[in-house]
Symmetry: C2
Subunit: 293 residues, 2 copies
């Protein structure tokens, strides 16, 4: 399904220079009664990797802010090698924009950054949506060397987005069809494109994943400090960041409602963009202190 | 919140004699465009244990059929000591009513019975809602001797519904408040009550749980045969049937969308009856072959 009004594809890339931070690339579009929603992206993903069908749907009720962390896409600076380093940049960016509190959708690596940001400054977010991500101390996080992923990543016939189609979607007929449709949608944008990520981005972010797997003290203890209403979402068959991590978020976050999609992998939010947007909108539209909608 | 129209409380108990089966007690009420929804009850629960706030809400869109399995409440016969035995009775009951296909809400033990029924006769159900339940071969299923449950079950100050308040709801202030409200709602019915379950019911059903924990062949292999759209629901802190069992349902059922509620235990569907009814209604209203709504 193509997007209804193409606000995502037509959004121009903007830049914000933050003293002591970097020159950050971002896109800002949409309107409505909701708080702004900050979107934090996955491993090596840039502004161009958000599915316009999803962002168009979400932009109908609120302003969206797509953000390139330092060293990604059009943003200057070095890619941090820790999630905490990425959180510092994202916080500096929001401060630079003058946004005191917003909602956040953190996908994969972006979900880790969102957790770190809210632990450091609780009032920075009102509601969190954490998709395909893991808590600090999680397991089976982005081990690209494992056979189920390596076979796709090392296949020379997979190039560009066709890699994402293989590793973000289940190998079923329906999963791969959803992947094909996703690739067609993200490729609709042909102008004002972001700089694709190279190996230096991947290497730094992989270091951040390895650091995020380590923990001290009580495992998942940090999660008990996040009382914000949270919606946790995952595909039940996520090969990149196993869905058991979402189960641990459900078990340890005091205020998280968790949704697991069938026949879906890491890219569940793109595969089921209609359903995801409906659930996310229902969740974000609530003003209670509970995550339940 | 009290129920809006009290259809559940006013529903009279009916009886159906099935040759080769038993004389089954049931209540049938509600109307709307949906298929009838069969409700299969938890350990020792009878027709009187369904939360009227939940059943009133669901009855707005379809006919509900509350069912006492053999030996429970007003139903004759012996309580089977296996889930398969219970499934046989529930199937005989539907056959006796002349219902070829319906939807089902199986809670706890009732969710196991629903799985068994649909494995034996796939066309008996269109859509399944499995709440606080476990697949065959699951773990941490109704071990009443474990300290977190035993302390409430062996406390002589807990009587009748106050036991359920302790073991169906989290010990938090919000969890216990929800438990108090639940007890008040189920106690609204004062006439045409079902016979409460005694130790002979509990003993037979406990034997069925122990048998259900055993498996032969590939663990959770049966689940791959259930292609029906399924909504799996649990409280993230279910002490009676651990929520990890719901995760395994999510992982192994090919077409199950899974919802885990925060700050909730076994009785999540009663604690969040508004939300649960909303999600269940959205799920049941879909006519696609996918569980995703």
């Amino acid at each position: 399904m193509s997007s209804k009004n193409n606000v995502s594809i037509q959004a121009t890339t903007q830049f914000l220079e933050v003293k002591g931070g970097a020159r950050y690339a971002y896109r800002r579009f949409g309107s409505g009664p909701g708080l702004p929603l900050l979107l934090l992206q996955h491993f090596t993903g840039t502004l161009d990797n958000w599915d316009p069908a999803l962002t168009d749907a979400l932009a109908g009720g609120r302003e969206l802010i797509l953000f390139d962390n330092a060293g990604l896409g059009g943003s200057s600076g070095d890619v941090p090698t820790t999630v905490a380093g990425m959180a510092k940049h994202a916080t500096a960016f929001l401060d630079g924009l003058g946004i005191g509190t917003c909602d956040v959708l953190g996908f994969s690596l972006g979900g880790m950054v969102a957790q770190q940001m809210v632990l450091e400054r609780p009032r920075i977010f009102r509601r969190l949506i954490l998709v395909g991500t893991a808590p600090r101390g999680g397991e089976d996080i982005m081990h690209l060397e494992k056979p189920s992923l390596a076979k796709h990543l090392q296949d020379p016939s997979n190039k560009g987005y066709s890699v994402l189609q293989k590793i973000f979607f289940t190998p079923t007929v329906t999963g791969q069809a959803a992947g094909t449709a996703f690739v067609e949608r993200v490729m609709q944008r042909t102008k004002d494109l972001d700089r694709p990520s190279g190996p230096e981005v991947a290497n730094a972010q992989m270091a951040a994943f390895r650091e995020w797997e380590r923990f001290t003290g009580k495992r998942f203890g940090d999660l008990r400090e996040i009382h914000h209403p949270t919606l946790v979402v995952n595909g039940a068959h996520d090969e990149m960041i196993s869905a058991i991590n979402s189960y641990w978020l459900a078990e340890n976050m005091p205020n998280a409602l968790t949704l697991l999609y069938p026949d879906a992998g890491h890219g569940s939010l793109f595969q089921y963009h209609d359903s995801f947007a409906r659930h996310a909108t229902a969740f974000l539209s609530e003003s209670s202190e509970s995550a339940v909608y």
